[in-house]
Amino acid sequence: MTLMKHFLGATTALAASACAALADPALIYDLGGKFDKSFNEAAYNGAEAYAEATGGSYRDIELQSEAQREQALRRFAEAGFNPVVTTGFSMSSPIASVAADYPDTKFVTIDGFVDPEEHPNVKSILFSEHEGSYLVGMMAAMASETGTVGFVGGMDIPLIRKFACGYAQGAKAVNGDVTVISNMTGTTPAAWNDPVKGSELTKAQISQGADVIFAAAGGTGLGVLQTAADEGIYSIGVDSNQNHLHPGSVLTSMLKRVDVAVEEAMTAGADLETGVEVLGLAEDGVGVAVDENNEDLVTEEMMAAVEEAKASIVAGDTEVHDYSSDDSCPALSF
């Protein structure tokens, strides 16, 4: 009998918490983990900013395996969370299969794409990474003394090639003779968390003459930044501002304002407008990071060139080729 009471008590408590959670937003991090100092951490910062600004609360979960994607989506949707914000391109297909079952819940996929015609309750937020990468590519080519710059990608997927392609175009815009070395860490998700390989790739690129290396590789990138600092060359961080990791060695970071996207989606709540949104330079969705850690490295000349290119891209005078538009890159062969 006492056991029964316990069960009943637990059920009421659960029901109460489910009610309290009604219309709170939820956030699902991708496999890289909440504190990856990069992409997912930016999402976390956005959620924290939302909580601070509105006094609201939110729930989040770090995925541990592929199998949890759909499960987490359904859990949050059934518990009444709205909107359910997710990070990472891998979430788009689970969302596409779940969205129709919860028509009243809004889903947000950052970096992923879900057809808005088919699923009217999904918002896809995409970033123009090629534009941001173009700008850091320019800075890399200007900072390089050897005329060789490097790129280290994580898992070999179109999104990462988009980074590499924009980077190469930017570097070549500054210096037509620049050599761009591009390496991918691997073809499995383990490529996001292998700093040892990141280090070796960095050493290999340094021996080929690279003296500025852009890492778009999640946890692997930490190995790239570390080795660049050890070997006394410049590196470029990605997604979050990584300038503070090795002050004096990280030239800049290619910012992807995932935090802003998350904060805006959460603030809009259940009234979120769905559809596809592309955040580029014009919307300040991507950009370069300058703070006290790298202000000595970035010359005025660099900033002027970057500002000029940015204005030109926003105005539509300079067009940066998007790798994902036709799976090819004019400035770099993979």
Partner: protein, 321 residues
């Protein structure tokens, strides 16, 4: 490909082969005594985490190394308890070790440092510095041999030299000492060892302890030698490649060295050249990444010699009454 490039690739090979070699020798001791060990990955991971965590807290890499060895030995101890004392299934126990390490390291790291399952970056005395061997700079101008000595042989962290010295040491222990003879015997015919009045359990625990020590060195090298801190899942499957190398080497120490160097070379080449053009035929990088496993399957299938594992491997020993 010029001489300098070859040297750089070989240099990278040595760095990449070292954790494989230490883990492979660890597996060698364990499997030669009849304890199948697929938990190498988990032990390395535990050691990598503890060595980085302690090195970050104390500022001394030596305390870190010690902590790494203790961590890997604890994992080994759990494996031993489950598979020797309680006669459980060794494969399942090994898998459990891998999962345990994968989850525990991130959990403890998050609770301890609050940096998302990472340890803080190690500075100065918290890392193994590379050692310049005597006369490295003096001999550098000597053609061919000078650069080989200065680039390839000199300039690694101490654990690399320890790892390579472990190969003759392992050979000597296994094939030239009484302990080694008994250890090999316990993996082939434990009942014979028991009849001779030597403790099977004791020998197997000794092998497991050595396995923990070597895995500890491997993990510490990853986190404090090659890198400056722990990142979740940073072993990235090296424990499994080491296991493949062990089978490839047919459970023999010198062959283990060659197998690990070969696998290290494959990785180094794959990292250096994304795709290799062999006169019209382009080998994509994925093939290079998969080669260690393909080679192991070829060996297991019996195309190149025969890989015969220790006979009593995987069998818990039950004394006859």
């Amino acid at each position: 490909m010029d001489f300098a490039t070859i040297l750089q690739v070989l240099d990278s090979t040595v760095r990449l082969a070292t954790p494989l070699l230490l883990a492979c020798l660890a597996g060698l001791f364990s499997e030669r005594s009849g304890i199948i060990d697929i938990g190498l990955e988990g032990k390395m991971l535990a050691a990598a985490f503890l060595s980085a965590a302690i090195a970050a807290t104390t500022g001394s890499v030596w305390w870190g190394l010690l902590a790494g060895i203790v961590g890997a030995s604890l994992m080994s101890g759990i494996h031993g308890l489950a598979s020797i004392t309680f006669r459980g299934n060794q494969l399942i126990s090994g898998v459990a070790i891998n999962f345990l390490a994968s989850g525990l390291t991130v959990l403890i790291a998050q609770d301890w440092f609050g940096q998302g399952g990472r340890t803080p970056s190690l500075m100065g005395g918290g890392r193994f510095e590379s050692i310049t061997l005597p006369l490295a700079e003096t001999l550098r101008p000597v053609p061919v041999l000078g650069p080989i000595y200065a680039e390839l042989i000199s300039g690694h962290s101490i654990l690399v030299y320890v790892a390579f010295l472990m190969v003759p040491a392992t050979w000597w222990v296994l094939f030239r000492t009484r302990f080694g003879l008994r250890l090999r015997a316990v993996g082939e015919a434990p009942e014979a060892v028991d009849t001779a009045g030597v403790s099977v359990i004791g020998l197997r625990y000794a092998a497991i302890a050595i396995c923990g020590l070597l895995c500890g060195l491997a993990g510490a090298y990853l986190a404090t030698g090659l890198q400056a801190g722990f990142v979740r899942e940073m072993t990235a499957g090296r424990g499994y490649i080491a296991l493949a190398a062990l089978i490839f080497a047919k459970w023999r120490p010198w062959y283990a060295l060659y197998a690990c160097l070969l696998f290290g070379l494959l990785q180094a080449v794959a990292l250096r050249y994304q795709s290799i053009d062999l006169g019209g035929v382009v080998i994509p990088v994925q093939v290079m990444d998969a080669l260690p496993y393909i080679l192991t399957v070829v060996i297991l299938a019996g195309f190149v010699g025969k890989a015969i594992p220790p006979r009593a491997g995987g069998e818990p020993y039950v004394k006859e009454r």
